[in-house]
């Protein structure tokens, strides 16, 4: 593990690819649940980037950021899924295009 | 990595694997015998001495049964789910230490497959992955009772995992380590069940709920849900679920012993491994005893108990322990 077998750039490219796939998911999928999962994918890509930079610079601040990202993701999922259930009860749909009226 | 290390690793994996897989028929036999006597019957006695071979016979029968696939079941997930269940149970067994180090052929050998420094987190991780086997099994069957069983167990296991994890935190605070062998070693003079009795009680209750055993077996409540999540599983797939339930019991009992009941320590000249086995058998007996004694809880009572009693109690216990530790310096 002393030599650099896998350079930082490789991790960054992987993170970029995962992030892009997440972006595609948010933009082209219609099911709100899949959009959610794509957002999780993007958050994870960023986490990977953070951890890779942490390793490169030998500083653990990146790990702390990942910790906070996970806390935010957990909060986001709890709220998001609760909203989704509320919408589904009212409209029987999980399609984001069907929810375009800002009234109950 | 030299040859000796590889041989050591392979032997240890084989020992644990063999122990778990051979132990399950024994536990099942013990369960049926103990339950029988507690209910004033004899239990299995025809096959082999004291009915010892009954489980083997049942296993053979399952092996030759037809493997059914429900109509419109999700084929891939239906095959995947039982495998996931048994794999997570066996992987969790890798970090449970069953003794201290011994010197054999001039080598220091730790009596555990691996001694990672985050063993406790690893264990929580694998048990949390264990939920998937049940949830997916319930979903993939495309049938209403399994689905309900899967839903129930996912909610139940998430809820009880929290209290279980937090009940282990005081142990980590006392020993200052997440490694299970370190925790085991720290109990040479006093078992942690003495200073952490409440944590122990919470852990045991959560352990019963995590392994889906009575009185918390809501996921497979036969009076309401036929057989819960594994209603549609037959033949070897059912056997895998069966196996993983008992393997999980062994793992969870191993963790309870390692964290609270003095691991491999015990009075007298009995070797540590034997002490561990004795405690393991007693703990499993306790599991069966619970099943024979308590009626099943209602589902809302179960969730309410987890969130409103166990979780606050474990948090309170953690806070008190922290204060005491700081005051002692």
């Amino acid at each position: 593990m002393s030599t650099i077998a896998v350079p930082l750039a490789a991790y960054q490219i992987l993170a970029g690819a995962l992030f892009t796939i997440g972006v595609v998911g948010v933009l082209v999928r219609r099911s709100a649940l899949i959009v959610f999962m794509s957002i999780e994918l993007m958050l994870n890509a960023v986490n990977l980037s953070f951890v890779a930079f942490s390793r490169q610079h030998g500083s653990m601040d990146g790990h702390i950021f990942v910790f906070f990202v996970m806390a935010v993701a957990a909060a986001e999922v709890a709220i998001g899924l609760a909203i989704l259930i509320a919408i589904f009860r009212k409209r029987e749909t999980a399609n984001v295009d069907d929810v375009h009226l800002l009234k109950g | 990595m030299d040859l000796a290390t590889i041989i050591e690793a392979v032997v240890k994996v084989l020992i644990v694997l063999g122990f778990v897989l051979m132990g399950v028929p024994l536990i099942v036999w013990m369960e049926r015998k103990v339950l029988g006597h507690m209910q004033d019957r004899i239990g299995p006695e025809r096959v082999g001495p004291f009915g010892l071979l009954q489980t083997i016979a049942d296993g053979m029968k399952l092996f030759f049964k037809e493997d059914m696939l429900p109509a419109q079941a999700d084929k891939v997930v239906f095959f995947l789910a039982p495998g996931l269940s048994i794999v997570t149970a066996l992987v969790a067994a890798t970090v449970v230490p069953w003794g201290d180090t011994v010197t054999l052929f001039g080598r220091e050998i730790g009596l555990r497959i691996t001694d990672v420094n985050i063993a406790l987190l690893f264990l929580l991780g694998t048990t949390s992955m264990g939920v998937y086997g049940i949830v997916l099994g319930g979903w993939a069957s495309n049938s209403k009772y399994p689905l309900l069983g899967g839903l129930r167990s996912s909610a139940q296991m998430i809820s009880y995992e929290l209290a279980q994890g937090i009940s282990l935190v005081p142990i980590v605070m006392i020993t200052g380590s997440l490694s299970l062998s370190q925790i085991g070693r720290a109990q040479e003079s006093m078992w942690f069940v003495v200073p952490q009795f409440f944590a122990f009680v919470i852990f045991v209750i959560c352990a019963v709920a995590e392994t889906n055993r009575a009185p918390f077996d809501l996921a497979e409540a036969e009076t309401e849900l036929v057989a819960g999540f594994h209603t549609e599983f037959s033949s070897m797939k059912f056997a895998l679920y069966f196996l993983s339930e008992y393997a999980n019991m062994m793992v969870v009992a191993g963790v309870a012993i390692t964290c609270f009941l003095g691991a491999w320590h015990g009075p007298g000249p009995i070797p540590g491994v034997l002490w561990f086995l004795i405690k393991l058998s007693l703990f499993l007996f306790f599991f069966i005893w619970l099943r024979a004694t308590f009626p099943r809880l209602r589902y809302d009572q179960l969730m309410g108990f987890g969130w409103k009693v166990l979780l606050p109690a474990s948090l309170l216990n953690m806070a008190v322990t922290a204060v005491v530790l700081v005051m002692k310096g």
Partner: protein
């Protein structure tokens, strides 16, 4: 050598499964593929000496958040085959935009790093305890104590919000 093989393995799994998450029809399969992505990322975290983060990834992400997802999927039973992709021009635009994002990210990743600590070259030597729970705890409860406390408030708000939203009827 082992490192390169492991990296390729995890990276390949992650990208393939991520594509599956976005393009698979069945939402439950999407969730499972996402779990696979999360687990391979946990593997990469371990390779990057972040054991604690890897454990968190498995316990929190794969073990709790994704189970919650599955729970909601099963509760709502979204099985009807709706249009997988958004129809019409929006789809083309979406792919185009994603392509631009990817090219940009690629450009940033491959450009030589500026600043004092370059992002190219040999990684820094690591202290003994790098990535261990003890080391993370030490800086989390000293340097980052304030954000940590705020996070707890965030989680409390999320709990209250989720309970309020998921209730069957709004009172008043």
């Amino acid at each position: 050598m082992t490192e390169i093989i492991l990296f390729s393995l995890f990276a390949l799994t992650a990208v393939t499964c991520a594509l599956g998450v976005v393009f698979h029809k069945n939402p439950v399969h999407c969730a499972l593929l996402l779990v696979a992505v999360l687990l391979s990322l946990a593997g990469l975290f371990i390779m990057l000496h972040a054991q604690f983060i890897a454990a968190l990834q498995v316990i929190v992400y794969a073990g709790a958040i994704m189970v919650l997802f599955l729970f909601v999927l099963m509760l709502l039973n979204v099985r009807r085959h709706e249009d997988v992709l958004t129809p019409g021009a929006a789809k083309g635009f979406g792919f185009l935009f994603a392509l631009i994002v990817f090219v940009e990210l690629l450009w940033v990743a491959l450009s030589p790093g500026g600043g004092e600590q370059g992002s190219v070259g040999a990684p820094a030597a690591l202290p003994q305890e790098f990535g261990s729970p003890a080391a993370i705890g030490r800086i989390l409860y000293t340097t980052w104590l304030y954000p940590f406390e705020i996070t707890s408030i965030l989680l409390l708000v999320a709990v209250v919000g989720a309970v309020l939203l998921a209730r069957r009827k709004f009172v008043g």
